[in-house]
């Protein structure tokens, strides 16, 4: 293929990266603050997409679906932590046990959706809008909306983490929960907020993902879990900025390798980048103090 495909594939990479960034930042924020590897994240995305679908099919706009998905994501992540994860931690379940807990919760969510919705495919009722061609890119309005949403969300997250007391508290909790608590930070509240924020982004990402894939089923979100994790790891787990950059790198690598090498291997290349980075810098590109949610 020639250079003519380069600019469009960068554009497509940006759309992929936007979806990935929403999901990966949510994932990494929560992991950084709470240290729980939430493998139910992908299935929670699917659940939010189902909620958005119900809203959409009852005449709600896409904005309303996004809102509903985000609200559902935030609420269910919060409740999941309060009602399942925290009780397990209090009961003394270790890190690895927690991984099994989250994986089990994911399997339960996914199959509950299958039991309720049935083994079929769903599509939102919406128009992708007209195509626009800024600077040689090819987008439609729906994709521009996705990119816009992701950029806005990233800016808000950045500002929250760097400019507010809450952000400081979150970073402090991530770096050293004991010390944070000793310095008067209400770490329980910080943890709650981290879950809410993570769930919010997770819900948004779920709806945006299925807007982009158009058709979805009960396994759609869990199929994306690993690349979300890869994006988070690439930037250094727990670091919001890192996850953003990780998402961008993976989005671009996937699409450009699909353009110049082979679509069959595009994910392999994306994961390959991660492996190489890990060989050089075992904790990701943006390494600093481990576990820090950096601005």
């Amino acid at each position: 293929m020639t250079a003519s495909i380069f600019i469009p594939s960068v554009g497509f990479g940006l759309v992929t990266a936007s979806i990935l960034a929403l999901a990966a930042v949510g994932f990494t924020l929560q992991f950084g603050v709470t240290n729980i590897l939430n493998l139910a994240y992908g299935d929670l995305m699917t659940a939010a997409a189902y909620i958005g679908y119900v809203v959409n099919r009852h005449g709600g706009s896409i904005a309303l679906s996004l809102l509903a998905g985000a609200a559902f994501g935030a609420l269910s992540a919060f409740l999941l932590n309060r009602l399942v994860y925290t009780p397990f931690l209090r009961r003394g379940t270790k890190l690895f046990g927690m991984v099994i807990v989250t994986l089990s919760v994911g399997v339960i969510i996914q199959n509950t959706l299958l039991a309720i919705g049935g083994a079929t495919f769903f599509t939102y009722n919406f128009s992708v809008g007209s195509a626009v061609h800024p600077l040689g890119f090819v987008f439609n309005t729906s994709q521009l909306m996705i990119i816009g949403l992701a950029v806005a969300a990233m800016i808000v997250v950045q500002l929250l983490l760097t400019q507010t007391r809450l952000g400081k508290a979150m970073r402090a909790t991530a770096a050293n929960p004991g010390l944070a608590q000793a310095s008067g930070i209400a770490t329980d509240r910080v943890v709650d907020i981290a879950w809410l924020l993570s769930g919010l982004l997770c819900g948004l990402a779920g709806v945006v993902l299925v807007l982009n894939t158009t058709a979805f089923q009960s396994t759609t979100g869990s199929g994306f879990l690993v690349i979300i994790i890869a994006a988070a790891m690439l930037g250094g787990v727990g670091r919001a900025t890192g996850a953003m950059v990780g998402a961008l790198v993976l989005g671009l690598v996937t699409e450009i390798s699909a353009a110049y090498i082979s679509p069959s291997y595009k994910e392999i290349f994306a994961f390959g980048v991660l492996v190489i980075v890990l060989l050089v810098r075992p904790t990701g590109i943006f390494t600093g103090a481990q576990r820090e949610v950096a601005g």
Partner: protein
Amino acid sequence: MNATAYYLTTLLVYLGVDIMAVWALNLQYGIGGVYNFAFVLFQAFGAYIAAVLTLGSSSGNGGFQNYILGATLPFPLPIIAAGLASGLLAVVVGLVALRKLRTDYQAMVMLVISVIATLTVTNDTGLFNGPAGLSLIPQPLSNVVNPSSVGYQWFYVGITFVICAIVYVFVHRVTSSPLGRALRATRDNEAAAEALGKDVVRLRLFVFVFGNVIAGISGAVLVQFIGAWSPGSWMYVETLVFLTAIIVGGTGNNLGVMLGALLVPVGFNEATRYLPQIGRPGLIDALQWIVIGMLGLVFLWFWPQGIIPERRRRFAPTPPGTAPVSGSAGSGSGAPLADPTVLGEPR
């Protein structure tokens, strides 16, 4: 009845394979503290290697399958080769994943690696025949015993349990040796183990490779029995079933996890097949997965140490064989906070 015998023998072979798998995974996770979410990958790799080493040249059978390394090795060489190949792969993966990484990072890297492997095998159809997988894999010693007879089924059960016994000897040697204690120490407190001069990375790498050799062998035993293998057989969720077995049986205890293998992947799975079929088609199968998920949660909540808890080891190792009961881990049921060594750092 013949049909019952076929079913029973099939279950026994699966039981043997699952027991090897949970021993291996228990060695890695339960004893070594290595989070091997790519476990199924190593089982699958062993299965593929054993398959291509028995299938003969890929131009055979009308050439409808494409694969590497076609050969016709006599039993049990394909199984041994499968173990070694999985071990070799484990060295490579271990050097990437276990090196200087925090354990939860390791878990994530394992997930990523298992997905890379699935993608590679699915997309590179020349490797192991892509998404269609391999089939018509000959059964071992089928020239000695008629492979479609019940007799052969029992014969294969025998082979499986002999291999199981061999594997147990090695597993037991590791778990009861000073090495096993070093591994447990690493698991329970990495920093302390390091301070005592244990090379944590090397210990983990050893247990990772060792466990995956067994994983490869178990995959080979399975594939030689069922005669087919495809990428659908090893999504990472499959590891959840083994992990649940370990939790249920008793993390860190070889006999406990063996019981877990009987109860979860075999017993529970088979028992749910007898459920009445209610509701719309497929509903019961979704519910089955929900129940498997719940099973792990229920055990982690009520019996976090499983049915047969790991023996607590103080000072000198308890004499081998002492029944792992009576007060040695009273926290096994009802009082899960009793044992400080199993507590993490809840926050």
